[in-house]
């Protein structure tokens, strides 16, 4: 069943109004309890009949990663979160990656980005032929509460990008 955004919109508006004081005070447990999560009725499913050694993989994280020298960090202030995404090249040097996400402890990831975004491991697996091709571009999202903007504006752009890049499989790694 498709996501019912018409039902979500007023519930989200109410949640923002009621949760803003708790959000600003950092009472995250309280605001999570009240968030109008969209629970899918069914499980989206595309069968997999391929061989990884002959296909193109792209990595998607929600860890708030961005390129420090060329991209703006994600907005970490707004209760709505930040619905944009960043493109991370597979050739990235770990030291060039910043993390802009206020809602998980990323101190260990800053020591080794591969624990949330295992790009170096995937490059190695491509070189060994275990993965056919690692896409040139990978993707980071961050903290999002505004599911309407995410679904109606961001996701179509993201899907267009991965289709144009010939991605066969997405490796989804939330934080």
């Amino acid at each position: 069943m498709p996501i019912d955004l018409d039902a979500f919109k007023p519930a989200y508006k109410k949640w923002v109004e009621e949760s803003l004081p708790d959000y600003q005070a950092g009472n995250m447990k309280e605001i999570v309890k009240k968030y109008p999560f969209i629970a899918p009725d069914d499980i989206p499913w595309t069968a997999y009949n391929g061989q990884p050694s002959s296909q193109t993989f792209a990595l998607v994280t929600s860890g708030g990663l961005y390129l420090k020298d060329s991209q703006p960090p994600f907005d970490t202030e707004s209760i709505h979160g930040d619905t944009s995404f960043r493109e991370i090249p597979k050739t990235v040097h770990p030291q060039d990656i910043g993390i802009a996400h206020a809602h998980y402890d990323h101190s260990l990831a800053e020591q080794d980005i591969n624990i949330v975004f295992p790009i170096e491991r995937l490059v190695e697996l491509e070189n060994e032929g275990i993965i056919g091709k690692l896409a040139d571009t990978h993707y980071s999202f961050s903290y999002v509460n505004d599911a309407v903007s995410l679904v109606t504006e961001t996701v179509p752009k993201f899907i267009a990008r991965i289709k144009a890049a010939g991605v066969d499989v997405l490796f989804l790694v939330p934080v």
């Binding site: 990884p52 624990i115 949330v116």
Partner: protein, 74 residues
Amino acid sequence: MPTISTGNSAERMANIKPPRAVLVKFARGSMFGEPGNVKRQRRIILDALAALQTMTEPGTIQELPYRWKQPDPE
């Protein structure tokens, strides 16, 4: 497009219902284990690739056996 997910909370994953996923028992922010543990990072990815090829039931979640700062099981 087929996807393979990782997760670290069985409760969250039960609500989100990813098509197919592997579950690790690590804290948020450490999905692939300890910093510098290259073998474990690689192993988790290989487990995810195996899950991609073998899972046929939508919503299957496989718990992986790795534990924080403990050796990988043989």
